[in-house]
């Protein structure tokens, strides 16, 4: 469909869907779901390697199940609760991707989380880590709340992209504050229309993706919405359509909302007079 390419830092993509690789039943389902979503960017996390017994079998590595010529890997710093740990995770991820010659070595999805219950981003830690990582040469995509002031601050700290949340990670509650997301987009793109804004987290179903795209987001990042669906492959296909629908609707320009009706059929030549005066 639309071949409108967009840029995120030094990267250029056509697909506007970023898909996470967590929580799939197995690698086959993951691969099929990623293919159905038509995404070009997939996120991964770093964790301690499994040190299997000698002679025993080690679990498959996720990179062996991803076509690294097709997907750009976006490493995240999920699970980090301080700026320092997030910076460590980013450096480790870069080292891993440099070993695989994947362009994803250049960037990182920064998450500095505040607590385990909400997984909300810690604003101060996010700003600190953004500055450190930008100085270290990373292109930083920073996960943040839907607060327009924070979004602005993170952009000022040097982030390549700001990723406001639709709702809490994994909650499936969709875009809870569309007005804030719209303001975030407005603020971030003010005087810089190509600055990429990617809505991250909270997507429960396809319409949530469409809403984010209609608001003018450049892309949507999701994981559980696909991986947790009863049929992840069908849901992935739905998400691909939803991204297209939302993007096209945004480009088309929606009608303004109004409180009362406006007849879509002609009001002249009626065969009966108007029933009641208003």
């Amino acid at each position: 469909m639309s071949a409108d390419r967009y840029r995120v830092g030094s990267f250029a993509f056509t697909s506007r869907l970023f898909v996470g690789t967590g929580k799939y039943a197995n690698f086959d389902v993951m691969k099929d779901a990623l293919a159905a979503s038509q995404c070009e960017v997939v996120t991964v996390a770093i964790r301690r390697d499994v040190l299997a017994p000698e002679g025993g079998t080690r679990p498959d590595n996720i990179l062996d199940h991803l076509d690294l010529t097709r997907y750009t890997i976006l490493p995240n710093t999920a699970g980090c609760f301080s700026a320092k740990d997030a910076v460590r995770a980013a450096r480790l991820s870069r080292e891993l991707l440099e070993g695989r010659d994947n362009p994803g070595a250049r960037w990182v999805k920064l998450e500095v989380l505040a607590d385990k219950k909400t997984l909300l981003p810690d604003p101060v830690g996010t700003i600190d880590a953004t500055r450190t990582l930008v100085d270290a040469g990373f292109e930083v995509l920073a996960y943040t709340s839907d607060d327009p002031v924070m979004a602005r601050r993170i952009k000022d700290a040097g982030a390549t992209s700001v990723m406001p949340l639709g709702s809490l990670i994994g909650s499936g509650l969709g875009i809870l504050n569309p007005n804030n997301i719209a303001i975030c987009i407005e603020v971030l793109k003010d005087g810089d229309p190509n600055y990429p804004v990617i809505v991250d987290a909270g997507v429960g179903t396809a319409s949530d993706v469409t809403i984010a795209m209609e608001l003018g987001a450049d892309g949507v990042l999701l994981n559980t919405g696909i991986a947790g669906a009863k049929n992840p492959i069908k849901m992935a296909a739905a998400m691909a359509h939803a991204i297209e629908a939302g993007r096209l609707a945004h480009l088309a320009g929606r009608i303004p909302k109004r409180p009362f009706a406006a007849a879509s059929s002609p009001t002249e030549g009626l065969i009966a007079p108007t029933a009641r005066p208003t």
């Binding site: 996390a45 390697d49 000698e54 590595n61 996720i62 891993l96």
Partner: protein, 180 residues
């Protein structure tokens, strides 16, 4: 110039360090004397070999158990302590003479002192002369597929062969997993 600047470092503080370095003993298997070395075959010998004084320190023959193996699988555990050692070099001569250990793989000849390290939060024992590359090899991890931190500092892959393990090192070995 202050008095402190003029004072040379006290020599008695240098000497112990100088004494320490020759302790990195017999690396050359040809000159290795089997009976003397095995006096330090501590922890595993059912019959203790003759124990001449002044035996070569740190030339230790130990059974290599799997460092990651769960404790419950140890067959010999009741009678002899098990020592998990990462690193060291196979020393076939030691193996052939010792009735306790048949596969030569299971015996290592340590060229350094034994150090305690932490790998991914778990305490392990390693040969102090081992490098990070040795350690990954021992754990059967491909260097390209892991990233390593020692004491929270990233170790670039190119430096694995020259990075030695020190006592108390906290080592993190990470890889990618699915995530959003």
């Amino acid at each position: 110039m202050t008095a402190r600047d003029a004072t040379p470092a006290p020599t008695d503080r240098l000497r112990p360090a100088a004494r320490l370095s020759p302790r990195r003993a017999v690396a050359d298997p040809a000159s290795f004397q089997w009976p003397r070395a095995c006096c330090l075959l501590f922890l595993f010998c059912e019959t203790k070999p003759p124990n001449p004084p002044g035996a070569i320190k740190n030339a230790v023959c130990v059974k290599k158990t799997n460092p990651i193996e769960p404790k419950s699988t140890g067959g010999r555990q009741g009678r002899t302590a098990r020592l998990s050692v990462i690193g060291g070099r196979p020393y076939p001569r030691c193996t052939a003479r010792n009735r306790l250990y048949n596969p030569s793989e299971n015996v290592v000849f340590l060229t350094g002192s034994i150090v305690k390290i932490t790998i991914n939060g778990k305490t392990e024992t390693a040969d102090g002369a081992a490098t990070l590359a040795d350690l990954l090899n021992r754990l059967r991890l491909e260097p390209k597929r892991v990233a390593v931190e020692i004491n929270e500092d990233l170790v670039p892959r190119a430096r694995f062969p020259e990075t030695t393990i020190r006592d108390g090192d906290r080592i993190e070995i990470v890889t990618f997993v699915g995530g959003g």
